[in-house]
């Protein structure tokens, strides 16, 4: 589904991504982990064709992101870090607009909007102005926008930030439900969440992928030398202290 080869990104002289390569298969749920500023958002923006890579190649479902960005965008649902909402529109109008520009056929729009309102559990605010909604509602409107055209690939940048535990659970369930139909990439700081939904994790540190393993393997690898089952959080902290020592040498 996704093939990234030697993706590098410079912002001026700052190198945000260094030689990133990975492959993601159809139907996988992959978690991008990393500290703030590690390059998760930049990588997601390159995958969605919002930003061009300085060098390297990304192919999604057979289309090159660089050359065929319009075809790519049809396949992708994307929730940026801050939900991209027009604060003076109502939820309903906003979703209608999203459906219009995302090629949802005119006949299906009304049904599709009702479906995503239900899936994201935001039916009760459909006629409210987005600007007055709480963070949790805004986040879910953002997710609704991302799935409105039934994308094959869903890219979610911190989808659960600002949600309460119950809503968190709902979103995880929603992502789980999508599992067999589509590929999902998500980033988050909440490691316990990744443990519950992702099949595979990519840990990014200072623009480099330092771990690319299935979750079970990763946890097993690290529990062996400690003789106890470790959590993802312990692994994450360990990896980051290891690599910073390397860098100091």
């Amino acid at each position: 589904m996704i093939l990234a080869q030697n993706v590098t990104k410079y912002f001026g002289r700052f190198q945000a991504l260094k030689d990133v390569s990975f492959e993601i298969k159809k139907g996988e749920i992959v978690g991008f982990l990393g500290r703030n500023g590690a390059g998760k958002t930049t990588l997601m923006r390159i995958l969605t064709s919002y930003l061009p890579a300085s060098s390297g190649k990304v192919v999604i479902g057979g289309d090159d992101v660089e050359k065929n960005s319009l075809a790519i965008r049809k396949k992708i649902g994307y929730l940026p870090e801050t939900p991209p909402l027009y604060s003076n529109m109502t939820v309903n109008d906003y979703l209608k607009f999203a459906a219009e520009i995302k090629d949802v056929p005119a006949r299906e729009r009304r049904n599709r909007i009702n479906e995503v309102l239900e899936e994201c559990n935001i039916g009760e605010v459909r006629d409210k102005i987005i600007g007055v909604l709480s963070r949790g509602y805004k986040q879910r409107v953002g997710i609704a926008q991302a799935i409105i055209n039934k994308p094959e690939l869903l890219i979610l940048d911190e989808p659960t930030s600002g949600l309460d535990p119950i809503q968190n659970l709902q979103i995880r369930k929603l992502i789980k439900n999508l599992e067999y139909e589509r590929t999902v990439i998500l980033s988050t700081h909440i490691l316990s969440e990744i443990e519950q939904i992702a099949h595979r994790v990519l840990i990014i540190r200072s623009g480099r992928i330092i771990v690319d393993k299935s979750l079970d393997m990763l946890l097993k690898d690290y529990s062996d030398d400690q003789c106890a089952e470790s959590t993802l959080e312990e692994v994450f902290v360990k990896l980051h202290s290891e690599t910073s020592e390397e860098n100091n040498e």
Partner: protein, 236 residues
């Protein structure tokens, strides 16, 4: 093409959901009305020539207020990321936004058509020159809108966008005053680049190819620059 209309519709509703549309509409029409009365009272002739000149002068100040947020607000709130990762071309985004502001501006022009009926009622105006005058002022406003959209695409700050378009519009509008100190081809160039002489022809009933080309090429030039300005690909 449907997506262009979807964006234009979104832009138009955005105007009417914020107070700025009503303020601009009421303010513009009130000021125009006052000037219309003063000009007719002073000139005592059934012509809108001077009214168009005043409208042009007012649009130099008003249009940047209409266009300043078109792209800068999307950049500030991050919604530009939503637009640019949707299956819609950048050209369609620019055209949709331009169309939305153009429809709003056309509304203002339509409201001033009453002046024609007033002078038609009280005198015998030259209908042809009034028709071409309206066409001229509409073309000029459309050109100003394209400039405003261009400067709005440069920044995420609405104030900077407005001030940049004021700078460009003042340069175009007041360039006629520099022609006194110039001569030869330089004078001709500055005279052609300024808006003053072009609208002048329209208000006396003259439609020349040079004037129409001036406005249309200005609009297309600004929209193309905007189209490339919002492309992230340029600074890879």
């Amino acid at each position: 093409m449907n997506k262009v209309f979807a964006i234009a519709k979104k832009e138009l509703t955005a105007y009417f959901k914020s107070p700025i549309a009503y303020i601009v509409l009421i303010l513009t029409i009130s000021v125009f009305n006052v000037f219309f009365y003063m000009i007719i009272d002073q000139n005592r002739e059934a012509s809108l020539r001077d009214v168009f000149k005043v409208m042009e002068f007012m649009f130099v100040f008003l249009i940047p207020l209409l266009t300043m947020k078109i792209f800068s607000e999307e950049k500030l709130t991050g919604t530009i990321e939503f637009l640019m990762t949707s299956p819609i071309t950048n050209t369609a985004i620019v055209l949709g936004k331009y169309l939305g502001s153009l429809i709003f501006f056309t509304l203002i022009i339509i409201m001033t058509v009453t002046y024609y009926f007033i002078i038609e009622y009280f005198g015998q105006p030259d209908r042809m020159s009034i028709l071409t005058g309206f066409l001229g002022i509409w073309l000029e406003g459309s050109f100003f809108l394209a400039i405003g959209i261009l400067t709005s695409s440069w920044t995420r700050n609405q104030i900077i966008a407005a001030i940049s378009s004021y700078a460009i519009l003042f340069l175009l509008y007041f360039s006629i005053s520099f022609t006194n100190s110039l001569s030869g081809p330089m004078e001709a160039v500055v005279r052609y680049a300024g808006t003053w002489s072009h609208l002048g022809n329209f208000t006396v009933g003259l439609i020349t190819v040079a004037d129409v080309v001036y406005y249309l090429s200005g609009i297309i030039f600004c929209l193309i620059l905007t189209r490339f300005g919002i492309e992230n690909r340029l600074w890879r």
